[in-house]
Symmetry: C2
Subunit: 366 residues, 2 copies
DNA sequence: GGATGGCACTCGGGATATGAGAGTGCTAAG
DNA sequence: CTTAGCACTCTCATATCCCGAGTGCCATCC
């Protein structure tokens, strides 16, 4: 009862099950994989594997299927890395290099992963790097609202609404819903001249400053201002600092949700829980972050794998997540990955995720 | 065999079927709706309605279900408008007014519609209004790429990558994939000084100009430039004009896809075709545009309804789309809507879509 | 001691039969 | 024009059966 053969049996079970989607019995195991022993022998090994919790049978007298634990062993020790083919790599590079802007890059990355893996892809927007302010633009928009556009040195662009006339702070209060449509005579300080002054002073104050120096620089500007303008200036300054300092970016893009409905993806519980989990972007984001940052459960190349119940989310109990960080200079600024049934092609998925992550890291603004 | 009663029967069939999701027979029709006649009478009416193509029976001796044509008649002439309750309106306003920026507004609008209708929501990003250039920012990003940020007078912000060192034009060519990661010594004209000059001149040239005057203004700048810089300047100028002039914005956001998997939504063909159709954003966008712009097939308040096969998309043959334009000053700048099974609550869906569209129109930068 | 062949046993799932119920169309009468 | 009665049709749910795949165990062999 050699240990190696038992592992070989487990690998064969995983590969066969992933391929056929049906519980695999001792007979087909000996036939389809060159194990060189009889079904009876395999049965003994399978009994041992089941005892150890690596495989299970859906019901008595059916074939065996791998458990989460079995997949885990497979991923950690048995899976052979299967690098992408050169044409595949080339296709990735071509497709991504055609992107027109950042949104497009991430959208394409998602579609790419979805297509390569046949599963759902999830791509997190890169967090705003801690970087200086490159330009601040103020645009008045309908009513008493101001659009504050922040462009950082690293090339990130963020927009925020600011309700004027109310107190400063990042949380705008409820806008008056009864206000007539269209621009109205500005009650306060929204005329172009004022805005120009504000914009010029704030930009000048921020020029060349690092993020840590911004609050002081802005405070100076605010202090040297008319009493009438000071509150507005302070509101803007706070908003900018807040925006630049916000570490995590909450947006993620999904792609390939249609793959969930494909016949290959029969989930026991149906796909409602999965779809619901995918819509809980905040939770999903937490999962990804956790996954990318934990030292354990990772395979080569910075790719992390969470299998079945290892995901805390109930909705993803029947799925596995393969994710990798990506980012400009080797440090992870965001995460992207693929989500599919636990019965997935792990080597292929890992290779695809890694390839796209690497390419993104290379091409993204550092 | 009064005409009104026949229509009443049709209305009752639609309402009952929408409610119970089961073919409705003559008996329950008389019981649940106060029609005041016997089942036999109803049967005669139903025979006539079937003859006219408004209803059909899934198989002999089952109840009747409305056809697309039947729904159409219902929507056009029989549906009673059912305005939202005041608390509902208030919830919409509160939830949307908490949005932090444009992305957030549209995301919230989508989730709102999805939740109100229990269906899939689709929200198109507003097209870039034809407006002047407010500010142009140039940020060098890793390698030979330039990030061009365009802020228009109307508050729209667009970002585009531009590969430098290659010809001008909006289509960047394939970036060299073998380039080492990280910033490299700029081969051409990407140093800060040069960029400052370019930015200053281009911004100055554009100040106060309308969109139509931009090309000329930029051409002047380019003409007065060093031969070394002229190509880059022209590249940027072209990109900006192209970006501002692009009429249609391709992005849309979806929300509530999880609703598709709910038990209430059993589609004959399964949901694969639906999910696939939803992923074809370009086609979907075409559908929405068409829907919002056609004069026919609209009900009150600018809301358009497409029922079943009226959608050209095969994947949406079993679904109806309820959509409305929205936009700042009464003119439609983008579209939003809800997609669900043809057997949907039309009055409720129409009311929800209209309410959100109206609120967005009122609150969005004009 | 591990590998193998034989064998009785279990169980899921497909095919078939059956019956109940809902609904219809038609006809004749009010 | 409406209504009651009636024979007919068809779906769906239930029950039953049977086949085959697969197992566990035991005796045997190398």
């Amino acid at each position: 009862m050699s240990e190696e053969r038992r592992l070989a049996v487990l690998r064969a079970i995983v590969e066969d099950y992933v391929h056929t989607r049906e519980p695999v019995g001792s007979r087909v195991l000996t036939e389809r994989h060159g194990l060189g022993v009889s079904p009876a022998t395999i049965r003994n090994d399978m009994a041992a594997l089941e005892e150890a919790g690596y495989i299970a049978q859906p019901h008595t007298s059916a074939g065996r299927i791998p458990t989460d634990k079995g997949y885990r062993l497979f991923v950690d020790r048995l899976a052979e890395v299967r690098p992408l083919t050169t044409p595949q790599r080339r296709a990735i590079e071509t497709f991504l290099s055609e992107a027109i802007d950042m949104d497009d890059v991430l959208g394409r990355a998602g579609r790419l992963i979805a297509q390569l893996t046949g599963q759902v892809a999830v791509v997190q927007y890169p967090s705003l790097r801690l970087a200086g302010l490159r330009h601040l633009e103020l645009v008045p928009v309908g009513g008493a609202r101001l659009l504050v556009v922040v462009i950082s040195d690293s090339g990130r662009v963020e927009q925020r609404f600011l309700d004027v006339g109310v107190g400063p702070g990042a949380e705008p209060s409820v806008v008056a819903v009864d206000a007539p449509a269209g621009p109205e005579p500005d009650p306060g300080a929204l005329d172009e001249g004022t805005l120009s002054v504000l914009r010029a002073r704030l930009n000048a104050a921020a020029a060349g400053k690092g993020l840590e120096d911004l609050p002081d620089a802005f405070a100076h500007v605010v202090a040297g201002m008319d009493a009438a303008l000071a509150p507005l200036a302070r509101g803007i300054a706070d908003l900018v600092v807040d925006t630049l300092g916000a570490q995590r970016e909450e947006r993620i893009v999904l792609a390939g949700t249609a793959n969930l409905a494909r016949a290959e993806m029969r989930f026991e519980q149906g796909l409602s829980p999965v779809l619901e989990a995918l819509e809980e972007q905040v939770v999903l984001l937490g999962l990804l972050t956790e996954l990318a940052s934990e030292p354990g459960g990772r395979v080569g190349g910075g790719v992390g794998v969470r299998i079945g119940h290892e995901n805390r989310l109930d909705g993803l109990a029947e799925t596995s997540v393969v994710a990798s960080g990506y980012g400009g200079d080797g440090d992870t600024v965001a995460i992207l990955g693929s989500i599919g049934p636990t019965r997935m092609d792990y080597p292929g998925t890992i290779a695809s995720v890694r390839a796209v992550a690497r390419y993104l890291s290379r091409v993204l603004p550092g």
